[in-house]
Structure formats: structure tokens, C-alpha cells
């Protein structure tokens, strides 16, 4: 009995939501920016913050991310209008339940790959990620090889005159204990 009434409440609520969605979503989509800033849960806010640091503010006057843009001349200094509009767009999409990837993808479609703070490691841009890893490793191997060669070189040299224990002790004493060998 209770279970049946619960399920009835559930279904009617679902129906109401569906009708609401059918009525309101097109309206919302039609006037994207007129929509008031949505209230986000703390988890959603964290996602919005993370996304805003992955996207560049496209105002053209700065080199900042959406999350950090604060350039001069915005009517609302810090963040500028462009950054705010982009932030709002992110929030609305999060509120609609879109995934991070989808949101990023749509921004790339709208503004070009420049909108991403770092380009994806694909095609030519793959070089950007790989070079700072490969080159130091190569250099490391090179230095290692150099060290080995220089060592071999030095082994061939004759040993210097032997140091007597007395002399070593004296030298240590005179060095004032600064030597620890």
C-alpha cells in the first residue's frame, strides 16, 4: 500500500519534471544568456572552478584563464566581462548535467583550440609534451656517458705521491677540521 502510493508519487513527479523540461528547456536554450546564474552545489562549483582554469579568457586583452582573468579595462575589473560570460556558460552547462569533456569540446568548437590553456597531446602538439621529457633524458644519458669517459680517462693517469698518515693528520689539523675525508 505504502509502496504503491510512493511509486505513484514518484511517477507523477517524473511526469511533472518531463513536462517541465519539455516546456522550459527549449525556452532556456533559446535565451541562453538571459538565464540567471544557476546555483551550483559545492561539488559542481569545484568542477566549474577546475574548468575555468582549463579555459582561456578570450577577451583578447589578456593571457589569463577564465578563472583568473583580471585584466585592465573590463567594466568589472577582475574578472572581465568575457571571462564572466564564459564562466556563466560553464556554470549553466554544469547545472544542466553536461560532462566536463563535452563542455570543453563545445568551447573548442566555438573559439578554436586556442581556448584551451594547454593543447591536447595530439598531432603536432604531441611534440610539445614529449620534447621536455625526451630531451632531458637524452641529455642525461649524454652526461652519464661523458662522466664515464672522463672517469676512464683519469684512471689511466698515474697516482700522485702517497700521503703519509702524519701529513694527513697535520693537514687536517691545519684545516681546522674543515676536512671530513
Amino acid at each position: 500500500m505504502i509502496r504503491r502510493s510512493l511509486s505513484r508519487i514518484f511517477w507523477s513527479a517524473a511526469l511533472a519534471l518531463l513536462v517541465g523540461a519539455l516546456v522550459f528547456v527549449p525556452a532556456i536554450l533559446a535565451q541562453d544568456n538571459a538565464e540567471p546564474a544557476p546555483e551550483l552545489s559545492p561539488a559542481q562549483m569545484a568542477r566549474s572552478n577546475a574548468l575555468s582554469l582549463k579555459l582561456r579568457c578570450m577577451c583578447g586583452g589578456c593571457n589569463d584563464t577564465v578563472g583568473t582573468c583580471n585584466h585592465t579595462g573590463g567594466s568589472f575589473s577582475g574578472p572581465c566581462d568575457t571571462a564572466k560570460a564564459m564562466r556563466k556558460q560553464i556554470n549553466q552547462r554544469i547545472a544542466r548535467g553536461e560532462s566536463d569533456d563535452l563542455i570543453l569540446q563545445d568551447f573548442v568548437q566555438e573559439y578554436g583550440s586556442e581556448v584551451l590553456v594547454t593543447p591536447p597531446a595530439k598531432g603536432f602538439n604531441w611534440l610539445m609534451w614529449i620534447a621536455p621529457i625526451v630531451l632531458p633524458i637524452l641529455a642525461f644519458v649524454l652526461v652519464w656517458e661523458l662522466v664515464r669517459r672522463w672517469r676512464r680517462h683519469s684512471i689511466l693517469l698515474p697516482e700522485g705521491p702517497a700521503v703519509s698518515p702524519e701529513l694527513l693528520a697535520r693537514a687536517r689539523h691545519e684545516a681546522g677540521g674543515e676536512s671530513h675525508e
Binding site: 540567471p36 546564474a37 582554469l53 582561456r56 589578456c62 593571457n63 589569463d64 584563464t65 583568473t68 582573468c69 583580471n70 585592465t72 579595462g73 573590463g74 568589472f76 575589473s77 577582475g78 574578472p79 578554436g112 583550440s113 586556442e114 581556448v115 584551451l116 590553456v117 594547454t118 593543447p119 603536432f124 602538439n125 610539445m128 609534451w129 620534447a131 621536455p132 621529457i133 630531451l135 632531458p136 641529455a139 642525461f140 652526461v143 661523458l146 662522466v147 672522463w150 672517469r151 680517462h153 683519469s154 693517469l157 700522485g160 700521503v163 703519509s164 701529513l167 694527513l168 697535520r170 693537514a171 691545519e174 684545516a175 681546522g176 677540521g177 674543515e178 676536512s179 671530513h180 675525508e181
Partner: protein, 690 residues
């Protein structure tokens, strides 16, 4: 007066060309009179550029808005302090300022060495004049600061114009640090010209030995010190003015200033290899060449806006000139090196993998890797646009990902390197020297974990920082203990005596310690927090242990700006602890709005509050509060680095020791016993150069 300034600049150009040509002629013909006149011309350049700078400043202080540069960067209401600084607010003035600072260095070098190194100095003079010619050419023919306002009419007659009021100085630059930050950076950029000139001169003139390194050590340190201070002041300015809660955004111009500092750091370390062991001669020469080229590249990135940047206050197509100049420098360096490569042949030997030498090798490797990563990321958008045609951005995530591991490895080497002995260190000695500091590091890490600070990189950074700090302390302690017991003084004054005796070594340790503090400060950013909230009077905002109560909003105005101000009271544990007044200023002359951040700074955390403006929807003021832990460590660490650099510049007291009786310090007198001087044994471990 504008004629006066232009004429002084033109004469400076002529003098530099003469110094260059007569210098070469003097070297070729070996006529000392030619060489002398070349030197005098080189010194005269300084006087002439000084006159030009004075002329430009005169226009600023007399509000002469018929001058294009003055009209663009000043206005009547601008405080005098900033009128002076407006000299470097734009392209033309900055380049003039560059030339002027370079001429100060050139003059000092030529003057101080006028009776020294007669074989080397003519070459040095020629190289310095060559660099000056390039910049004076820009000053005279490409970006003259002495353009007057006006336009030609239909019949081609030029009519002068005079504005009644100037555009004002960019408000971003109206901040006390902005008066110091650019000169510091420019002193760094220009200062690296001196070691470059000596290195190239020594190579061209085949000047024997390591002398050029001894002569330029202090010059390099001065340039390096200024560059470092300039970078940190810039970071502090970004933190205090830009109002986004951070201090480093991996902006192309920030990166550009970091590059020569990194290679300069590598050079300051690797010269010791050459001084002590005669190794790495080719490497050192190329490090200086690269450092100088990075300085020119940095100036180019700053001035040309090739890569988009917030710093591009005055962008233009000047980049092409710099590219040509860079190509010329590279060609000259390559040719000089190829022709004289036999002169650089060095006797490279290593006794052990576990030695100071290999420590320096890896130090250089790591520094160059960091330099490459930064340069690569900075220039990659340009490459990408060339090759694929698509515009991309390379932002902070790339630089952080790549550089944090590199930096941590460098931090590790900072602890290990100084304890490694020259030639060879036994594993036993290693264990003895490292056990306690490393244990201390892990204890600190464990404490941080228990307190709940869980972030991998920050934790590694903390462990390494404590490790390095403890190795530095143990070095001081060991040295000071010996002096204390011998001279019967306390440990602190013994440590002072130790430092003054070998300023280079212990000054270096102090610099290392400062860097450790900076690393700790940067690691703190892993725990930054921020809250943004619309606030009406009487409402509160909670961040960390603080509650911020909005008391009032009001307006303040003067000739220069109008300001919206918030009055905030900060509570902690129910008790009022401070008042904060973040502002938004609207600058009248430039019609630009800026934030004035209110920062309450304490050793362990900064409370950083921005009045972000009014919400367009509700009209309520928006307050953005940040809680940034440990930021103060960065600025304090910077002070310590500057202090250590200053100490390392002082001559050590070692020279005085040599004069003491042989009985007391027999190695100083060069006593020889059993065929080996004790000094040689001692030198393996302790020496003025390590």
C-alpha cells in the same frame, strides 16, 4: 629640447660606431692610440645617452604634451615619482632605458679596467660597442622617444600639435614596486652583456687561462642578483596588484625573464669546475653566450609582443630587428668558437661518480632542462602556428607539470652538491653527512602528514627543503664549531667569522637557504583556498578560521582616481582581529578601473581580499577572499637570496690569512712537506672556490 635629445642620441650612436671601428682597427694595427680613443668613445656613449635620458625626463616634468611619448604616458596629475618612472612605460622609452643601463655597465667596465688587462680590454670594448650599436640604432631610427606630435597637411607642410593633457600612465604601473621592478630586470638583462663581452673577447683574443672568469665573476653575480630581484619584485607586483590571488602565471614575459636567470645560475656553478679543475671550458663559454642571447630574446619578447602577453604594453613590429640581431650574435659566437676551439681544449677528468664535479654536471643538466622546458612552452604557440596554422595556447598546467619535478630534483641536488667533496666522496662520508638531515626531512614530512597536509609534490618539497636546510646548517655548524673552540668565541660570532672568511662559499649557502624558503612558499600554494560572495553591509563571509564582516561601502576621490572602497572587519574565533580596505580605483586620465587588493600578511598565511566590483545582476558588491598559506616565505626567501648574493660579492678574508706566519697556517705560506703541500690535500675539501 627635442632636437637636443635626438642629437645626443645620434651622437651616442656615432660614438658607439667609432668605438667599434676604432677598437677593431686598434687591435689589428696594434696602435695604442687608436685603442685608447676607442675606449674614450665607448665611455662617452654613457654621457651622451645620459643627456638624452635627461632631456626626456625634462619633457615629463614640464608636462610637454607636444612630445608623442610624453603625451602617451603621462598627464598633469601624475605624481612626480611616477613621472620619473614613465620613462620606461612604453616601447621607445624602455629601449632608451635599456641603452642607458647598458652604457652605465659599459662605462664602469671600461673605466675600472682602464689600466688592467691591456691585451683583453680592446676586445671587450669592441663587443660592448657592438651591442650598443644595435640598441642605439633602434633608439635613433626605429623607435625614437623624441617624436613630436603633428601631421602633414594637404600641401605637405608639417604642423606641430600640442595636447592640453596627456593620456596618463597605465594604472597597472602606478604602484611603487613598478618603479623598481623594471629597472631591476633591465639591470639584469643588460648586466649579462658584461660576462658575454669578456667571454667573447677572451675567445677572440685567445686570452690565456681562466682570467676572464675571475674578472667577470662579480659582474655576473651582480647581473644575476638584479635579475633575480627583478623577477621576484615582478611576482610580488602581480600578487599585490593584479588581484587574482597568485604571483606567477607563466606569462611569456615572466618566462623570458626567468630564462637568463636559470642559465646564469648554471654558469655561476659551472665556472667553479673551470676554476678548480680546468674542465668545461667550452661549456662555460657557451653558457655565457646562451645567457646573453636569452637576454636579447627576453627583451624582444617583452618589447615586441611576438607571443601574446599581458606585459605587451606597447606592441610593435620591432621583433624583426631583434631576430636579425640574434642571428648575428649566434653567427659571431659560432665563428669565434669554431676558429678558436683549440684554445678551449680542456683536461676533463673525473675521479669518481660521487664527487662535486659530477654534482655540478647534473646541476647544469637540470638547470638547462628547466630552461629548455620553459623556453619550449613559451615559444611553442609560435611554432605551432607556423607548422599547422592553428593557434594554440600553452598555459600554466604545462609549465607546472613539466617544471615541478625538475625543480624538486634541483632542490635535492642543492642539498647533496655542497656536501660532496671535490674529486671523490666516500660512501661512508656520504652516509655520515646525509643521515641526520634526511631523517629530519622525513620527520618534517611525517608531521605534515599527521597535520593533514596531503599533497604529493608539496610533501616531497617539504621533505627536501628541510633536508637542504639542515645540510646548510650543519655546514655552518661544523665550520663554526672549529673556529669557536680555537678562538674561544661563541658559535654565532664564529659562524659570522666563518662567513666573512669565505664569503663566496658561505654566501652561496645563504643563497641556497633563501631558495629553500622560496620553494617552501611555492609549495604552500598547493593549499590555497578562495571564496567569492556578494555581500551587503552586515553580511559575513567565512574562509578558513576567519569570518569577514562587511561594515561599509564608501567612495574616495582625488585628482588621479575615484575609488570604491569596502570596509571589512575580520574576526577569528569570535574576536575582531583586523580591518581590511580593498578598493576599486577608476583612473580618470586613462579611464581604466583597477583593483587595490587588501592583503593581511602573516608568516604562515596571507588573507587576500579583493573588491571584485558590483554584481551586474543584483548590484551588490562582490568580495573575493583568498587564504594563501606561506606566501611570505617567498618574499622573505628573496631577501635572504639578495643578502647572500651581496655577501658573496664581498672579498673573503682568505687573502689576509695568507699573510699570517707560516707556523700558524703553513699552507698559506706554501709550505711543502714530503713533496706534497698540505694545502693540496686540504684543497680537495675546502677551498675558496667551492
Amino acid at each position: 629640447m627635442d632636437i637636443f635629445g635626438s642629437f645626443a642620441l645620434l651622437l651616442a650612436f656615432v660614438a658607439a660606431v667609432y668605438a667599434f671601428a676604432a677598437g677593431i682597427a686598434g687591435i689589428l694595427t696594434r696602435r695604442s692610440l687608436l685603442t685608447k680613443s676607442a675606449r674614450s668613445a665607448g665611455m662617452a656613449v654613457f654621457g651622451l645617452i645620459t643627456l638624452a635620458v635627461a632631456a626626456l625626463e625634462y619633457f615629463f616634468f614640464t608636462n610637454d604634451f607636444s612630445m608623442a611619448y610624453v603625451a602617451a604616458h603621462s598627464n598633469r596629475a601624475l605624481p612626480a615619482f611616477y613621472k620619473f618612472a614613465a620613462l620606461w612605460a612604453g616601447q621607445e622609452g624602455s629601449l632608451l632605458f635599456w641603452s642607458w643601463l647598458l652604457s652605465i655597465y659599459a662605462f664602469s667596465v671600461l673605466f675600472l679596467n682602464r689600466k688592467k688587462h691591456p691585451e683583453l680590454m680592446p676586445y671587450v670594448g669592441v663587443v660592448l660597442a657592438g651591442v650598443q650599436i644595435f640598441f642605439l640604432m633602434l633608439n635613433n631610427f626605429v623607435a625614437s622617444p623624441f617624436h613630436v606630435l603633428g601631421a602633414a597637411d594637404a600641401s605637405g607642410v608639417f604642423h606641430l600639435a600640442r595636447l592640453s593633457e596627456g593620456n596618463g600612465l597605465n594604472p597597472l604601473l602606478q604602484y611603487p614596486e613598478m618603479v623598481i621592478h623594471p629597472p631591476m630586470l633591465y639591470l639584469g638583462y643588460t648586466g649579462f652583456t658584461v660576462p658575454f663581452a669578456f667571454a667573447l673577447a677572451a675567445l677572440l683574443g685567445r686570452y690565456p687561462g681562466e682570467k676572464w672568469i675571475h674578472i667577470t665573476r662579480r659582474w655576473t653575480m651582480i647581473a644575476w642578483g638584479f635579475q633575480g630581484i627583478g623577477i621576484l619584485l615582478g611576482a610580488h607586483w602581480a600578487y599585490a596588484v593584479l588581484g587574482w590571488g597568485g604571483y606567477w602565471a607563466w606569462d611569456p614575459v615572466e618566462n623570458a625573464s626567468l630564462l637568463p636567470w636559470i642559465t646564469g645560475t648554471a654558469f655561476l656553478h659551472s665556472v667553479m669546475m673551470q676554476e678548480k679543475r680546468g674542465m668545461m671550458k667550452v661549456w662555460n663559454v657557451w653558457l655565457v653566450f646562451i645567457t646573453f642571447m636569452l637576454c636579447i630574446l627576453g627583451t624582444m619578447l617583452t618589447r615586441s609582443g611576438v607571443v601574446s602577453s599581458v606585459h605587451a604594453f606597447a606592441e610593435s613590429s620591432i621583433g624583426g630587428w631583434f631576430v636579425v640581431f640574434l642571428a648575428i650574435i649566434l653567427a659571431v659566437c659560432l665563428a669565434a668558437w669554431y676558429k678558436n676551439r683549440d684554445y678551449l681544449r680542456s683536461d676533463n677528468q673525473l675521479d669518481s661518480l660521487v664527487s662535486r664535479e659530477s654534482g655540478f654536471l647534473f646541476n647544469n643538466l637540470i638547470l638547462l632542462a628547466a630552461c629548455f622546458a620553459v623556453l619550449w612552452g613559451t615559444l611553442f604557440p609560435v611554432f605551432s602556428e607556423w607548422f599547422t596554422g592553428s593557434k594554440i595556447s600553452v598555459g600554466p598546467p604545462f609549465f607546472n607539470k613539466v617544471n615541478i619535478p625538475i625543480a624538486l630534483f634541483l632542490l635535492f641536488l642543492t642539498g647533496v652538491g655542497p656536501i660532496l667533496a671535490w674529486r671523490k666522496t666516500s660512501l661512508d662520508a656520504l652516509r655520515r653527512n646525509f643521515a641526520w638531515p634526511l631523517a629530519g626531512g622525513f620527520v618534517a614530512g611525517a608531521i605534515a602528514l599527521v597535520l593533514g597536509f596531503w599533497n604529493f609534490y608539496a610533501l616531497v618539497c617539504l621533505i627536501l627543503s628541510v633536508f637542504v636546510a639542515l645540510t646548510i646548517f650543519s655546514e655552518f655548524y661544523r665550520g663554526a664549531r672549529v673556529i669557536a673552540s680555537r678562538d674561544h668565541v661563541n658559535l654565532v660570532s664564529a659562524a659570522g667569522e666563518l662567513t666573512l672568511r669565505n664569503t663566496r662559499r658561505y654566501g652561496g649557502y645563504i643563497v641556497h637557504f633563501g631558495m629553500v624558503l622560496i620553494f617552501i612558499g611555492i609549495a604552500g600554494s598547493a593549499f590555497n583556498r578562495d571564496v567569492q560572495k556578494e555581500m551587503a553591509v552586515g553580511q559575513t563571509l567565512a574562509i578558513g578560521p576567519y569570518t569577514i564582516l562587511c561594515q561599509n561601502f564608501d567612495q574616495v576621490a582625488n585628482n588621479n582616481y575615484q575609488s570604491d572602497r569596502a570596509t571589512l572587519e575580520v574576526f577569528r574565533g569570535g574576536r575582531s582581529v583586523m580591518m581590511l580596505y580593498p578598493e576599486r580605483r577608476f583612473f580618470l586620465a586613462s579611464q581604466v578601473t583597477e583593483t587595490m587588493v587588501a592583503i593581511e600578511t602573516a608568516p604562515l598565511r596571507d588573507l587576500y581580499v579583493v573588491y571584485a566590483g558590483r554584481s551586474p545582476e543584483t548590484g551588490k558588491p562582490v568580495i573575493h577572499a583568498y587564504l594563501n598559506p606561506l606566501v611570505k616565505f617567498i618574499w622573505f626567501g628573496g631577501l635572504i637570496v639578495a643578502l647572500g648574493t651581496g655577501l658573496a660579492l664581498l672579498p673573503g678574508r682568505r687573502a689576509a690569512l695568507v699573510l699570517r706566519p707560516a707556523a700558524e697556517r703553513s699552507w698559506g705560506g706554501g709550505a711543502v712537506a714530503d713533496g706534497v703541500s698540505p694545502a693540496r690535500i686540504v684543497a680537495r675539501r675546502t677551498d675558496g672556490y667551492d
